[in-house]
Amino acid sequence: MKRKTFIVSLALLATLPFISCSKSESKSKLTIALLPKSKGNQYFVTCEKGARTAAKELGAELKFDGPINSDPAKQNEIVENWITDGVDVIVAACENKDSISTALKKAQAANIKVVTYDADAQPDARSFFVNQATAQGIGEQLMDTAASLTGGEGEFALITGTLTAANLNEWIKYIKAQQAAKYPNMKLVDIKPCDDQKDKAQQEATNLLSAYPNLKAIIGVCSPSVPGAAEAIKQAGKAGAVKLVGLGLPSENKAYVKEGVTQAVILWNVEQLGYLAVMAGAAVAKGELAPGATEFTAGKLGKMPVAGDNIVLGKPFVFTKENIDQFDF
């Protein structure tokens, strides 16, 4: 606890010069504050990379700060500081929807624009949400990739996080719909929960491989399930014979992808998410993007469609043997 207090006070001290500086600087330079769920997490560090690129292109100042651990109370604290600080726009990934919304509304009342990304706040606490991917996009991409690897034929199984996780069930719904619509020769034989544990996923996959000798593919719907299933396929000596596709971070799957055990890992382009979030924040602050808009220009990404108050990053990205080395998150 002592140490935490110490770190927090250090962090506060470090921001002091900024506070005094930014006030004295000319008002023409846009100040964008980017809030990650946790600033030590590689995922958000990668977001920051994209955000920096965007800020540079815009000639804006970017502040990046967040909790060390995923801590909703700390997120509120940082937002409060930014309000005092007088930033132009806050771009936030929300750890806890309800708790941060109060702080974000306070920011809006202080004339600071708010945009969310990665994880949304309550709709009235921000003007737009930059959505990394839709459930439909994820579900269809997973199914299409699996089908393209198996030639659109054969039995496949899913490994999910828990049977009750709403977002995962939503993705599974679209996987099933896509299979029914486009791949009539494929058959979903089983769905197993791994309780978000890699080791349980490994055991489930071992069982699936021996219980369904004709299995052609496994789709990992939650991120721990992909390396878990990969290890099971590898131990069974079925690398390549049973295809593996799943959702996850490149860094957690790199070894298996390069060995040819995992054929494809699917995720949105995290760097682009940071880029788009900052572009959207800037556009809102400049008044270029207002409620009712159907599209806006996001720098090098070009025109991005706006659906209601959602800006969708686009189709998920597929990491394969060929490109996975370029990513380090």
Binding site: N69, V189, D195, K198, S210, P224
Partner: protein, 309 residues
């Protein structure tokens, strides 16, 4: 009633399950999946030996899942920093011993209830790990998986060490003074004290041993894949306590054998693979396991009622 009635009942249930699988889903017994499955059950078996001793001494330790995760990550980080596997193993066992000793001091010497103490340490280690690792998978260097040997060799080592440990512990519980101290402390701590046993020291020792076994279990888990996840021990406490209860270890202390624990663990651990091989939906897994535990508890209840009459 036969002294080993429970063990025999559970063995019969397990035998029936295996027979059903042999007839309806012979794929279950293919060599590789069978061995991989058994290997993956060994960490829980090692931890279950510890939890059985804890329960026999009339205590409980629900922090073992957190201890397991912590030991696994400590070993993983040690290995990832380039130190040899031996050092990583030593770090895991040492960390386990220290966490066990903390529980032991608080329970045995401060007289605090073990359920509360271990609830507190469970949450503490879990949150510390979250803060430290941010939930990410840790990639291990080469030479950790299967102790740097081949897959069959690594699996053989894990399975045989776990069984040697089980046999040794079962023998010690029956034939060594330390084993009898544990039974005596769990049956009646005051009577044990009057008989010249130090129940505090015994309790402390059992918690330390539990920590070391949690560390060893973590090592057995670590060597089975090239990555380690900070939540790898989640749910281990329930899995092992259930195995002990089903295997006939009385939750009121003083009674139970490690053979029963082995059978209980194998029975519960094979419910899920059996369901998969019978092509049944996974929803049944927890329900069936719950029913088995309930049956065991009811049987215990009937037994102790009869004993009182």
């Amino acid at each position: 009633m036969n002294k080993y009635f429970r063990e025999l009942t559970v063995a019969a249930a397990l035998g029936l399950l295996m027979l059903g699988l042999a007839i309806l889903a012979p794929h279950f017994f293919q060599f590789q999946p069978f061995i991989s499955r058994l290997t993956s059950q060994m960490p829980a078996l090692v931890a279950a030996i510890g939890i059985a001793l804890i329960i026999i001494s009339r205590q409980i330790d629900i922090s073992i899942g957190s201890q397991f995760s912590m030991c696994a990550i400590i070993a993983g980080v040690t290995a990832a920093s380039g130190l040899p596997l031996g050092v990583a193993i030593f770090a895991a066992l040492g960390a386990g011993a220290m966490m066990g000793a903390l529980n032991g001091v608080l329970v045995a010497y401060l007289g605090l209830p073990s359920i509360v103490v271990t609830l507190a340490t469970m949450v503490t280690w879990q949150e510390a790990l979250r803060l430290w690792q941010q939930g990410r998978l840790l990639n291990l260097p080469k030479g950790i998986q299967w102790f740097g040997l081949s897959q069959p060799a690594g699996q053989t080592i894990v399975i045989s060490l776990a069984f040697i440990l089980l046999i040794g512990a079962a023998w010690a519980m029956k034939n060594l003074a330390a084993g009898r101290f544990i039974y005596a402390t769990g049956t009646d701590a005051e009577a044990a004290r009057l008989a010249g046993i130090d129940p505090k020291r015994t309790t402390f020792g059992v918690f330390v041993l539990m920590g070391i076994l949690a560390g060893l279990a973590a090592v057995f888990n670590l060597v089975q894949s090239p990555q380690v996840q900070p939540n790898c021990g989640d749910g281990l406490e329930l899995k092992t306590i259930a195995a002990a209860v089903v295997g006939g270890v009385a939750i009121s202390g003083g009674r139970g054998t490690l053979w029963g624990v082995l059978l209980g663990m194998l029975l519960l651990a094979n419910v899920n693979p059996a369901l998969t091989h019978f092509h049944q939906p996974p929803y049944w897994e927890k329900a069936i396991q719950g029913l088995v535990i309930l049956l065991a508890v009811v049987a215990d209840g009937i037994r102790s009622r009869k004993a009182r009459l």
